[in-house]
Symmetry: C2
Subunit: 440 residues, 2 copies
C-alpha cells in the first residue's frame, strides 16, 4: 500500500486491520449479497451505498400504486450486519475511483482498497432525450416510486377541480413507455387501481374516461420471455382495459403531449418512463471499457478488463459468455449469481488459487399483470394465469429480506386481495425547511 | 347567498345541492369527527385539508424514533367517506375567510358556505424566536416526524466519520425542549433507541457518551397531570439515563449550542422543540378575537364571538367554561367532544331549535415513557408502571382509525417488544426533481 493511501485510510475512520480490505460499491442485489457472504471471513469489508437501506426493486411498482409501504421493500443495511464485525457500512456518494493509488474518493473522504468491487447497478436511460428526462416519471428507486404515487394522487385531486374536459383527461390519463417487466407490471397495477380503488375515492370523477396506454418499441411485450408469456400478458392487459401499442417509438414529451415516431399523439400529465436502463459508471473507469448503455467490460471472472484487483458485478457489468454475446440480462438473478461466484473467486485469489469463470444459470423469469394474472417461464415449463400468480407471490415473498418484511407484505397482500382496496393512498411529502443546514 | 358567492360556488366544482352547505376546515380530530357525524345527514359537507390523510398525533414520536411507519398513523381521508355521498373532500390550502360574503378563498378557488367550521388545529410555537425556529426540529406532523427520524440517523452516520470528539458528541447528543407529553415520550423513546437499537447498528460508536437532555421551564414534567404522574415519569426517565432539567428556560440555539437563561450550555446538532403550540389562525378572523397563542374566542356553543354561522373547535378555539377560565387543554379529547356537541347543535340550529352549551368531561390523561413504563391519571384512579403501559397501549390502539391500522400497529408493537429492535431505520427522502412542474 502506498504511503498516501495510508493517509486516506486514516481519514476514512475505519479501524485498522491486518486483513485485506475489500471495498464494495453499492448494496443492491449484487453488492449486498457479496458483503453478506464475506461476513466473518478473514477480510475487512467496506460496503458503501448512498442510502442506508437495501431496495427490493421487483416491487417498486407496488409502492408506486399504493399497494405496499416503502418500509416493506426497503431494509436497513446496518441490521443485516449486526453480527458481522468485519463489515463496515458507510452512507456516501462515490465521486471517482483511482486505480493507480487503489483508492476511492467519496463524500465522506477517501478510502484505500486492496480489492474493489463495483456493484453500482443501473438507472433510468432516457437515451439522451433531455426533454423526456425533464418531464417523465422514472421508477428506479423507492423514492422515485413514492414520488410517482404522490403524483398520480395529486393529479386526481387536481382533476376534481379541472376547468375543462381536456384538462381533466390529461390529469387522469397515464402513459407508460416500455413493455418490459416494470412497464407491464405497473400498467396492470394502474388498471386495477382504476377498477377497484379510484372510483371509490373519487366518486365525482368518471373513470370510464381514464386511459392507460402502454407503449413498446419492439413487436411484443416482455421481449426476453417466451412468446406465450408475451401473448398472454398482452391479453391480460387488454382485458383490463390497458391500451397496448407495440412497434411504437416515443419521440418526444413536453409534460402534456406524447408524440410517437409515426406521428400519433397521446395527452397526459403523467408519463412513466420504463423504456431502458443504463449502468451507473464512475469517473476513473477507463472510457474504452464502457459501452453505450453504461456497462463496463469484464472478463469471465468479473474482473474489469486490464485490472488485477477491480471487479464489476450485476447490472453495470457486461461479460461475454457462451450464447450471451451481448452480455447477460440485467436482472437480479445474474447479479446474485455473479456475487456468489465472485465470493468464491476472491477467497481463491487470497489463497493464491486460480479463479473460476462465471456461468449463468437461467432459473426462469416471470411477471405479474394483476389479480390471478401472471406469466412464468421456467427452464422446462411455462405457465400463465392463477397458478403463475401464486407462484409469483411465493417467489417474491421468499426473496425479500427479513422475516418481518415477508410477514408484513404477506399481510398487506392478503388484506388487499380480499378487500380490493389498498389503503396506502397517502401523499406524504417532506418539504425542505428554511435555513436547513447539513447535519455537520 | 350573494350573486358573486354563487359564481365562486361554480368555480369550486362542487355539485349543487338544496341542502345547506357546511364547510369544515381541517381534518384533524375535531374536523374529521364532525364530518363523519354529518355523513348522510341532510346537509352538504365540504371538508378541506392540506393533506389527503388524517394524522394520529399521539404517535408522532414513534414515527420519529423509527418504531412505526408513517402509513400506520396516517389514514387516507377519502376512504373514510366512501359511503357518504354528501361529504366532499378537497385537498387545498386556505388563504383567508370572508365572513361578509360567507366564503373562503383557497388554493383551488373560492367556496361559499352556509356554515363554516374552523378546525385548523395548532402548530409549533417558537414564541417569536426566529433563531430557534430556524434550527430546531419540530414534531407536529407526520412529515416533521419523518424528517426528525432521518435527521437523527444521518447524524449517527456523520458521527462515524467525525473529525473530533467534540464534533462526534454534538452529532450524537439530543436535547428535547418541553416536558409535556410529546417531549417526555420522545425523550423516553430516544433513550430506548440508545439502549437497544443504536449500539447494534453502530458498533463503532460509544453510546455511553451519548447524552439525552429533557429541558422543561416549569418545576415539573407533564404539568397538567397529577404530581404522582410527574414524579414517576421523571423517575422513569432518569432510570433510563435521560438528564431531566426542570425550572430551565432555553434562551437560544444556533444549531450547535443551546443556551439557557441561567447561563448553562448544551452542545447538540439536534434540538427537538416541543415547548409550545399556537393555533393556526386564518386571515379574515377578527384580530380582537385572537389571543396571544393564536386561539380564537368562542361562546359556549363554539360559535366565534360576534358571528352567527362561523364555529371554531379543537386546539384553535378558546372557550371559558366553569373552572376552565383560561380555556380547555389543547388535547384530542376536547376536540372530539366539541365536535360531538357541535354536531348536535348544528342539527338543532337547522331545525330552528336552541343550541346547548359545551361541557368538557375530562376522561383522564396518560403518557408512556418506555417499555412497561407509563403514567395514567383517570378521574378516580391514578396508576403508573406496567399496568399503565398496557392500558396506554390498549387505549391508543382502540383510538386509531381503521381496523387494518390497528392490526398493523399491534403487530409492530408486538414484534418490537420481543425483538427490542424497531426495523424502520430508513432514511427515505424525496428529492425535488429538476424541471419539476406542478400537476396542472
Amino acid at each position: 500500500m502506498l504511503p498516501f493511501a495510508e493517509a486516506f485510510f486514516m481519514s476514512s475512520h475505519l479501524p485498522s486491520s491486518q486483513s485485506p480490505r475489500i471495498v464494495i460499491l453499492g448494496a443492491g442485489f449484487a453488492g449486498l449479497r457479496l458483503a453478506r457472504k464475506l461476513a466473518n471471513k478473514p477480510v475487512q469489508v467496506v460496503l458503501i451505498d448512498k442510502n442506508n437501506f437495501h431496495q427490493f426493486q421487483p416491487l417498486f411498482y407496488q409502492v408506486a400504486t399504493a399497494g405496499l409501504a416503502p418500509s416493506s421493500i426497503a431494509f436497513p443495511i446496518r441490521k443485516v450486519f449486526h453480527k458481522a464485525h468485519n463489515v463496515h457500512f458507510r452512507v456516501a456518494e462515490v465521486d471517482r475511483i483511482d486505480t493507480l493509488s487503489n483508492s476511492i474518493h467519496t463524500s465522506i473522504g477517501s478510502i484505500s482498497y486492496d480489492k474493489l468491487v463495483i456493484a453500482t447497478g443501473a438507472d433510468t436511460n432516457y437515451f439522451n432525450n433531455k426533454q423526456i428526462e425533464a418531464h417523465a416519471l422514472p421508477m428506479k428507486s423507492v423514492q422515485e416510486s413514492l414520488y410517482l404515487r404522490n403524483r398520480i394522487l395529486e393529479c386526481m385531486e387536481a382533476a376534481l377541480v379541472a376547468d375543462s374536459d381536456e384538462e381533466r383527461a390529461a390529469l387522469m390519463n397515464v402513459v407508460v413507455v416500455g413493455g418490459g417487466p416494470t412497464g407491464t407490471e405497473v400498467s396492470g397495477a394502474l388498471a386495477e387501481m382504476r377498477s377497484f380503488v379510484l372510483p371509490k375515492d373519487y366518486p365525482e370523477l368518471d373513470f370510464d374516461t381514464m386511459e392507460i396506454h402502454l407503449i413498446e418499441a419492439s413487436p411484443r411485450l416482455l421481449g426476453p420471455m417466451s412468446k406465450d408469456a408475451s401473448k398472454r400478458s398482452e391479453d391480460f392487459l387488454r382485458s383490463m382495459g390497458v391500451k397496448v401499442e407495440v412497434n411504437t417509438l416515443v419521440e418526444s414529451y413536453d409534460g402534456h403531449t406524447v408524440t410517437t415516431k409515426d406521428g400519433r399523439t397521446f395527452i397526459t400529465n403523467s408519463l412513466i418512463w420504463a423504456a431502458g436502463i443504463k449502468g451507473n459508471v464512475l469517473e476513473g473507469i477507463p472510457e474504452e471499457l464502457i459501452i453505450a448503455n453504461g456497462r463496463v467490460k469484464v472478463d469471465s471472472t468479473n474482473k474489469m478488463l486490464g485490472s488485477d484487483n477491480v471487479f464489476v458485478i450485476g447490472d453495470v457489468a457486461i461479460m461475454e459468455e457462451g450464447n450471451f454475446t451481448k452480455g447477460h440480462p440485467q436482472v437480479a438473478q445474474v447479479a446474485i449469481q455473479q456475487a456468489d461466484q465472485l465470493y468464491v473467486n476472491l477467497l481463491s485469489q487470497l489463497k493464491g488459487k486460480k479463479m473460476k469463470p462465471f456461468h449463468y444459470k437461467d432459473l426462469g423469469s416471470m411477471a405479474t399483470i394483476g389479480r390471478n394474472k401472471a406469466v412464468v417461464d421456467l427452464p422446462y415449463i411455462k405457465f400463465q394465469g392463477f397458478v403463475a400468480w401464486v407462484f409469483w407471490l411465493f417467489i417474491h415473498l421468499m426473496s425479500i429480506l427479513g422475516v418481518k418484511n415477508k410477514f408484513f407484505i404477506f399481510l398487506e397482500w392478503t388484506v388487499n386481495y380480499f378487500t380490493y382496496d389498498q389503503s396506502l393512498r397517502l401523499v406524504i411529502k417532506q418539504k425542505p425547511r428554511d435555513g436547513e443546514a447539513s447535519v455537520k
